[in-house]
């Protein structure tokens, strides 16, 4: 058999005869001629130091499975990790719909060819709007932290002010993202939180509020799991100096918890991952921003907004709202920027909310709250453990203080890990003021038996040492 060029299955038109025919049609003899504009000194003549490929699928599958099997997923252990990326149950239909080729592989089509994407994202926005009781919801941005950062930039433009207040008890990643995104135009000032209740320190807030403040940002629930019970008071204080109240939510809590406009929020933002998106090592994320349907808000969105209108023949049509706002049209005069962000997770979140419905989301919120409260109570009964660390209502996460056990969180979690339990997130470095503390997350995926197992294991660890 003669030497025959290998054709790769991903590449049509790599058969030599076909290429020759195409070259003839173009009027050149060699593909190299098509690169005539690339100067010789810029042609990369070296070899690429890449591994031997696995061009056949059998080998590729084997290669990938060999690597992936070095991972231990949260399904193989008992994990109480949360902190912004949470193990919620992902309904089968969510996976099926976001794996549909038509959604998965579509790009930024127009309504004429990608009608379905527009309708699905319009419906996602409408359902989030119902959940948060706002009238305008953006197409998803990169993640919840980006949503918060954009909400704060929007507030700065709306109020024409350049200071924003954020709580000290914020996810450290989120704090860094917000600071980065606001720098250099907007000063980000941290407001203390009450070390007993986890609530925002209203005294400190009062001191930091001024006529320069564009927005007060707080979260419900907070990163440390506590519910902010004085949201109305915080919003009132913000409004008293002409600032906006911007609230970050966990959307899965809103079947049971009041939507933020009920306590004065002007802008609501949050992370979509709980709504039917796998954790993907922290890579399954999307953020939303929601506001009233008023021009002063709508005009300040950098993100795409999808709307509905009757077509000339009487059907519903969907399309961009005020596309001219965006950086696609405005370039250097734009308010921030827009691009490929996280649309697929918006569609998925819509599927999730439609599956749950009004009663499902309410029951789910209750279930999570019960199980988390049970876990906190049982853990708090163990000697030396203070749990929940904060005297406050909680949703799905709470802080456990191990300071009086005589052990560090690292030591305790290492021993739990031996028992195939991931106890939570160690806060001792990110929140040194809490001593040897950890953030524990309980959701609908954890049964009573799971929680009892954690408690039993911890008892062994502490008793045996």
């Amino acid at each position: 058999m003669g030497e025959r060029k290998k054709v790769h299955p991903y590449i049509p038109n790599s058969v030599p005869e076909v290429q020759e025919e195409m070259l003839r049609a173009i009027g050149v003899e060699d593909v190299e001629e098509l690169y005539a504009l690339v100067p010789e000194e810029l042609r990369y003549s070296g070899s690429l130091n890449l591994p031997e490929p696995c061009p056949d699928e059998v080998s590729l599958d084997r290669h990938m499975q060999e690597i992936l099997k070095k991972n231990t997923s949260t399904r193989e252990v008992l994990s109480f990790l949360g902190g912004g990326c949470w193990a919620h149950y992902v309904p089968a239909i969510c996976d099926v719909i976001n794996q549909r080729s038509e959604f998965l592989t579509a790009y930024a089509g127009e309504p004429y060819e990608d009608h379905g994407r527009f309708q699905a994202l319009f419906e996602y926005a409408s359902m989030i709007a119902e959940l948060v009781e706002m009238d305008v919801v953006s197409v998803p941005t990169y993640d919840g932290s980006q949503a918060a950062a954009t909400a704060l930039r929007m507030a700065s433009r709306i109020t024409e002010r350049d200071v924003v207040l954020i709580p000290r008890n914020l996810n450290p990643d989120r704090r860094s993202i917000i600071r980065n995104y606001c720098h250099p135009d907007i000063h980000v000032v941290e407001v203390k939180f009450d070390l007993e209740t986890g609530a925002l320190d209203l005294g400190d807030l009062g001191k930091k509020l001024s006529r320069k403040v564009a927005a007060v940002y707080f979260e419900n629930p907070s990163y440390l799991g506590t519910l902010e019970t004085r949201g109305a008071e915080i919003s009132r204080l913000a409004h008293s100096v002409g600032a906006l109240s911007v609230v970050g939510v966990d959307p899965i809590s809103l079947g049971i918890l009041a939507p933020p406009p009920r306590y004065g929020a002007d802008v609501v933002c949050g992370e979509l991952q709980p709504l039917g998106v796998h954790m993907y090592f922290g890579g399954g994320r999307g953020g939303f921003v929601a506001t009233p349907d008023e021009e002063r808000f709508v005009a300040e969105y950098p993100l795409r907004l999808f709307g509905i209108a009757p077509t000339v023949d009487g059907a519903w049509g969907f399309g961009d709202v005020a596309w001219e706002r965006t950086s696609f049209a405005q370039r250097e005069n734009a308010k921030e920027f827009v691009g490929t962000m996280a649309a697929l997770w918006g569609i998925t979140a819509g599927v999730y909310l439609a599956l749950l419905g009004p009663h499902g989301i309410q029951e789910l919120g209750e279930l999570i709250m019960y199980r988390a409260a049970y876990a906190a109570k049982r853990l708090g009964e163990l000697p030396g453990i203070r749990c929940p660390r904060f005297a406050a209502p909680h949703f799905k996460e709470f802080v456990v203080d191990f300071s009086k056990t005589g052990h560090t969180v690292d030591e305790i979690f290492a021993e739990l890990k031996e028992k195939k339990i991931l106890g939570g997130i160690n806060l001792s470095r990110s929140f040194p003021e809490l001593g040897e503390s950890a953030l524990v997350c309980v959701t609908e995926v954890h049964t009573k038996e799971d929680i009892d197992r954690l408690v039993g294991a911890l008892k062994d660890v502490l008793g045996g040492a």
Binding site: V38, A106, Y142, F328, R331, P358
Partner: protein
Amino acid sequence: MKRKMRRFHQARWDEPIIFELSHPGERGLLVPEVEEEIQKEVGDIVSRIPQALLREEPPNLPEMAQPRVYQHYLRLSQENLGRDLNIDVGQGTCTMKYNPPINERFVTNPKVADLHPLQPEDMVQGVLEVIYKLDLFLREISGMDRFTFQPGGGSHAIYTMACMVRAYFEEKGEFESRDEIITTLFSHPSDAAAPRVKGYKVVMIYPDEEGFPDIEALKEAVSERTAALFITNPEDTGLFNPRIREFTDIVHEVGGLCCYDQANANGIIGITRAKEAGFDMCFFNLHKTFASPHGCGGPGAGALGVTRELARFLPVPLASFDEENGRYFWDWEVEKTIGKVKDFYGVIPAVVRAYAWIMSLGEEGIREVAKVAVLNNNYLMRAILRRVRGVEVPFLLEKHRLEQVRYSWERLAKETGLSTTDIQRRAMGGSRADDVGAHRVVFQGRTR
């Protein structure tokens, strides 16, 4: 015998808005009941939440049995085309390419899908290895020295480059005096928009008669105020700018940095690299050039690479390898890090797919991808020019393009009244003729 073409292009359902499908009382998913023992143990938890914080009425979501939800979304999916069913030519800045289904098997594997980002490193060695090795692969392909995968898309990568430019000059104490970013009209709109977020003034370079960014205008634009050049090459004309090295030299001479928007690098991978063209940073969109699907507009990933000199500004953490102990780990000790631009580590599914795609192709395959992309594009351009009346290709018609073309329907519009939008509508069943080679903004004020 010539067969008649079917008129069928796409399913059309008379599909109501989801709220119209609500049937009160129906359920799409049941929630486990709270265990009695838990209820007994904690008491009535809901009553302990302050009244003001409780939702009074359940949210007004639709009430639907599971088959209704499933059918609704299946129908909506059918009213979408997607690349798999379509020859999606895409838009100028965006490569649309085959998204191998085998890669979906890897990312939906619980050993990727159900990993928590804060699991101990010894439990996630596989995914860390993939991230680390994709960094090595992209170093080869770009000539850069270190990559981050944190940016969630191309625009986000541009923003991240602007953050790093800013950090670089802050360290030098030159931020105040260097407040200008230079970009070009035919680069992506985000090359102008994203640096504005970091406080930069944007200087726009217009194309010369040949369609290349005007080098004389660049020479006039640079000064001690220049922080950086943000540029695409080829721009959406598809013409590789042969003087790109002169561009980067001009900017370096005044002390500025050069940032390469390589969102779409499909025509040049393995052929020419950012390093040799004199760039200090570049990024690739993994959802374009490296075969991760677009998902109707994300999630994507902007893989951002920098030279050794700039690596100390990269976002944290960076995937690293401890050779002594043979283990992968997150390195948080990045000296002058800009901090974080995205939660956790970026869009990991896109990273896994890109790794698998490169592993399938290898060096030879990667070069073949580039060459076939360029071959296809030039073949299509010549065919369109030959067969479609009124279509023009502005700038250097005799030169070959790389992976995109800027077409003009201006003559067609004058002669027939048909605009870009009409062509787009007509062509939708076959390919995206949506001003192939240009975002629609470019056509505003010209044909529509």
